[in-house]
Structures are given as C-alpha cells and as structure tokens.
C-alpha cells in the first residue's frame, strides 16, 4: 500500500481506518460545472502531503472538500467518498462542527480575528468548552509555543492580533488551529502572502509539527513542496478545464523520477 500509487486506484470505497484521509473517485462541482474529476488520494497519518499543480487545477477546491468548508462559501458539491480515519465525512449524520474541530485549516491570507492575541488562540477552545482560566492559559501557551510564536508575543497577549506582522499573524492562525488539537491540519497556500523569511519560519514549523499531526498543504511553490513534504500529489487540468490528480507518490520520487510525463514537464518548469 505504501508503494507507488501512480496507477489509478479502483474507485471502490474501502474501509481504511489506518489512513488519515482517503479520497476515492471524488468529483467536485460548483453548481453544475465540474472542476475536479475522479480524484483518489491517500493521506498518511504523521506525514506531510503536498498538493502542487498549475493555477486553476482545483488544488484549493480539493483541500476545501476535505473539511467541508468549501460548501460554506459557494455552492460546492461532491460525488465520491472521502474518509477520515475510516469514517465517511460526507455521511448525512456527520456533525460539521465536530468534523472541522478534528480537521483544522489555515487559510491563504492570514485571517486573525479582530481581538487580542490571547482571545484568538482561546476562541476555538471556548467554542466547545468553558475551561478554567489556568487551563486556558496553559492551552494558549502551549499552542503558541508549538506555533513558534510564544517568545515573540508572551508579553503582549492582550494586544490586538492585527498589530502583528503578516508572518506572525499566520503563525497565530496556526496556533489558533493547534489549540483545539486537530488530528489533521489543512493548509491552503499558507505562505503565498508572506515574505521569504516568514515563509522559512512557517516551513520549519510545519516540519516540527509533523510528529503529532498530519498535514496536507497546497502550495504554488515547488521548492517548498520538495523541502517540507513526505508525499506529493500533482494535480493538473486538460483542455476540458477539469482538474485531475495526475500522480501521487513519495516526494523524492515525484521530484526525481516522476512516472508521468506531465508531472516531469511541470516540475522542470515547462508549463504551469
């Protein structure tokens, strides 16, 4: 199962409790327009999976289907099956609030809430419980420490989150997601609005988080995918403008000896 996955898997839904996320034969539509076709992708627990591909290939759309946030902002519909540790997330009985608590998300642009740094991190915790101040203090500190932000903000926790720099804001958003202890963290081009130094910090952070967390990251930056991911999935479109998963494999294999010619062309900068 951990071997090359480049040949198209059969679209039969399998019980896969050992996979963090498992997509089988997923089609995504906006209204009646099909934007993704027949995506079957495995996300291994404790690994970083990078999704790369040219603009408009449906990378962001796919990641937004994984925590069902896409259906909130548009008329997105899904066919096929996506499992989270063996549970179908598109089942009628799924509670979306519980699902999104387990599958966190960091967005393209840093989007801290217009409140204090402390309240930003505590927000997700307070949504589900009313912990005592000391418990909350500990949770906030450990989330900010995990997000490599604690030393920079420990003396200004009551200041507005909007006073932070862009890179700090994005790490705050990561801390905010970590505070509720998700099992999977989805990152939708988290560095695209950041400068190279802030980007480097986020990349180091992703590497350090990987021990306890499964990460799926969409990135425009191929070097980034090569640096930080264990596995890489390459999406692309054809003339019909419908996105497809072309190939998924260990990152070293994709960047060294990809099986598919389109993947090689993209990685060598011949298109996209």
């Amino acid at each position: 199962m951990h071997s090359s996955n480049s040949s198209k898997p059969t679209p039969t839904p399998l019980p896969t409790p050992d996979l963090a996320l498992c997509a089988r034969g997923v089609d995504v539509y906006y209204g009646t327009i099909k934007v993704l076709e027949d995506v079957s992708l495995d996300v291994y627990p404790g690994k970083v999976t990078a999704i790369i591909g040219p603009s408009g290939c449906g990378k962001s759309t796919f990641i937004k289907a994984l925590n069902r946030i896409g259906e909130l902002e548009s008329n997105m519909r899904i066919k096929g099956e996506i499992q989270f540790f063996g549970q179908n997330i598109y089942s009628q009985r799924v509670n979306l609030n519980r699902l999104r608590r387990q599958i966190g998300m960091v967005f393209q642009k840093p989007n801290p809430f217009p409140m204090s740094i402390y309240d930003n991190v505590a927000y997700g915790v307070r949504v589900f419980s009313r912990p005592s101040r000391s418990v909350l203090d500990e949770l906030v500190e450990s989330a900010l420490t995990d997000a490599a932000l604690w030393n920079e903000v420990k003396d200004s926790l009551t200041k507005s989150a909007l006073s932070l720099s862009g890179g700090q804001q994005q790490r705050l958003c990561i801390a905010r997601s970590l505070a509720i202890k998700p099992r999977v963290l989805l990152m939708d081009e988290p560095c695209s609005a950041l400068d190279p130094i802030a980007t480097l910090k986020i990349e180091e952070l992703i590497r350090s988080l990987q021990q306890e967390l499964t990460i799926v990251i969409v990135t425009h930056n191929m070097q980034q995918a090569a640096r930080i991911s264990d596995r890489t999935a390459f999406f692309s479109t054809d003339e019909s403008q419908v996105g497809r998963l072309i190939e998924t494999d260990a990152t070293a294999k994709i960047f060294g000896a990809a099986s598919h010619s389109r993947t090689r062309d993209y990685i060598e900068g011949r298109f996209g």
Partner: protein, 293 residues
C-alpha cells in the same frame, strides 16, 4: 544646460486646457460655498437668537405662564420628554432591528423572505414621518392600553421606534456585510456553529459600525415633530407617567415659534439651540465610537 527632455517637462499646457481646469475648479468652489452658506446661515441664526435665552433655568424650569415677568422660564419638561421617548424608541427598535439585520445578512441572505423584508424596510425608510404618526395614532392612541386611551409618551415612542427600525436594520445589515467572509470561514474551521460565528465574530467586529448606525438613527428621530403631534401631543407640566400627553423639544418649537408672545418665541429659539446641541453630541459620539478602533 537645457536638454530636449527638460523642455518636455516644463512646457505649459495649452491655454484652453488650463482655462477649463481653473474654470471648473472655481465653479465647484463657488457652489460649495453656496451650499455651506445656507447651512451656516441656519446655524448662525439659531445661535444669534437662541444663545441670549440660554440660562440654567432653561433646563430646570417649566415654561412660565405668559405675561408673568421675573419668573424663571424654561423647558426642562420638553427635554425630559424628548430624552424619554427617544430612549424608549431605542429600546424598542434596536434589539428588533439588529436581530432583523442578522437574519437578513447571515441567515436569509438572498432568499425570498429576506428579499421581501429588505424591500419592506427600504419602503418603510422612505415613508414620510407624518404618515408614521397617523399610523401610530390609529394603532396606539385610539387603542386602550393599561386602562388608558389617548395621547401618551408610549405612543410617541412607538412612532419614533417605527421610524428608527428601518434605519437600524439597513445600516446594521451593511455593517455585518462588511465583515470579511474570511473571518466567518476561520471561525467555522475552528468548529464554531453559525450562531457562535455570528455573535462572537461577525457582530463583535461590526459593533462600532452598528453603534454608529444606531446613534445616527437616534439623531434623526430626536428632531421628529410630525409623528409626535399625533401621538405624544404636548403638555406644560413635568412628566409623571408614560400614559399622559408628553412634551418634546420638537413639538415645543413648533407650538411656540408661531406664538404672539415674545417670551415663547425666545424659548423656541433656545430650544432649537439645545436640540441642535443634543443631535451634535450624538453625532460626535458616533464619530468617536468608529474612530476608536
């Protein structure tokens, strides 16, 4: 040394283009002056006529009976009435208006019900206030409330609330819509349900603009006269109950400004100044609230 490029930069534009530009600038400035002239002449006249009558007695006394000199005169009861009725109208219209706006912006969105409510609200905001007064007269004044039938502060507050409601709804909806969708998504991604997102994130971030809308609505109804003529009427005494004819600054100005007695005309001018001051302070407050964050 003058080069070709220097000449390119320093050569003046053709005379006709300069003339047009200066001409339009002058016309715009003149017309702005005209608009301000009208505004400032109103302000100037109110200050000139109202200021001499502005004493402490104005706030603490009742209007003196006509013909009696040397007695402290004022309109404390009218200030009391205006503040009271505007306060009750605010208590009635603000919770209702904000919840309606939340329905429009967060729940109903572009659905049939929301569109109908939005349409009705924009019509209601364009209804002349005298019509609202007649409506309140028919609904409240002619009805028996708490064993009382007739003109009352409650009826006046009801009429003012009807005028405030569409202003609060429409301005609050705009304020809620301005909260970036990214904020809502971030909240949802942390497992918050839509009620939590609405109140903890959307309303919280929109609060300064919502407050501005409410204060502007208050400023607007503070000077309404027509709806109060039909509902609160007027009285020469202090307010003791909500179920009696109630004085207000605007109706007082209306009644006294045409009076043959110079003392009453003077009171009307001073009342105008006080009302202007109250509206000005409310507006100032709304500026302060928005600038703070």
């Amino acid at each position: 040394m003058t080069t070709f490029f220097d000449k390119q930069l320093t050569k003046p534009l053709p005379f006709s283009r300069n003339l047009f530009s200066y001409g339009m600038g002058t016309i715009a400035l003149l017309l702005t002056g005209f608009a301000l002239l009208a505004l400032f002449s109103v302000l100037f006249e109110i200050f000139r006529q109202g200021l001499p009558g502005l004493t402490w007695d104005v706030f603490t006394s009742l209007p003196a009976p006509t013909g009696e000199a040397g007695v402290p005169t004022g309109f404390g009861n009218a200030i009391q009435g205006t503040v009271l009725m505007v306060a009750i109208a605010t208590l009635l219209s603000v919770p209702l208006g904000i919840l309606t706006a939340i329905y429009l912006s967060e729940i109903g969105k572009t659905g049939a019900i929301a569109n109908t409510v939005r349409f009705v609200m924009s019509i209601l905001s364009a209804v002349p206030s005298i019509v609202v007064g007649v409506f309140a007269y028919a609904v409240v004044v002619l009805a028996t409330l708490f064993n009382y039938k007739g003109f009352s502060a409650l009826a006046g507050a009801f009429a003012l609330a009807v005028i405030m409601l569409p202003i609060v709804v429409l301005s609050t909806e705009e304020a809620l819509k301005l909260v970036p969708r990214q904020q809502r998504l971030a909240s949802a991604a942390l497992g918050a349900n839509s009620v939590q997102t609405t109140f903890k994130i959307v309303v919280a971030s929109a609060l300064p603009s919502i407050t501005t809308g409410v204060l502007l609505a208050i400023a607007r109804v503070s000077g309404e006269t027509a709806p109060l003529l039909f509902t609160a009427l007027f009285s020469q005494s202090w307010i003791e109950t909500l179920l009696n004819p109630t004085p207000s600054l605007s109706v007082m100005i209306y009644n006294y400004s045409g009076s043959p007695f110079a003392a009453q005309v003077q009171l009307a001018w001073t009342a105008s100044l006080v009302l202007l001051g109250m509206v000005f302070v409310t507006n100032l407050l709304s500026r302060f609230v928005t600038r703070k964050r």
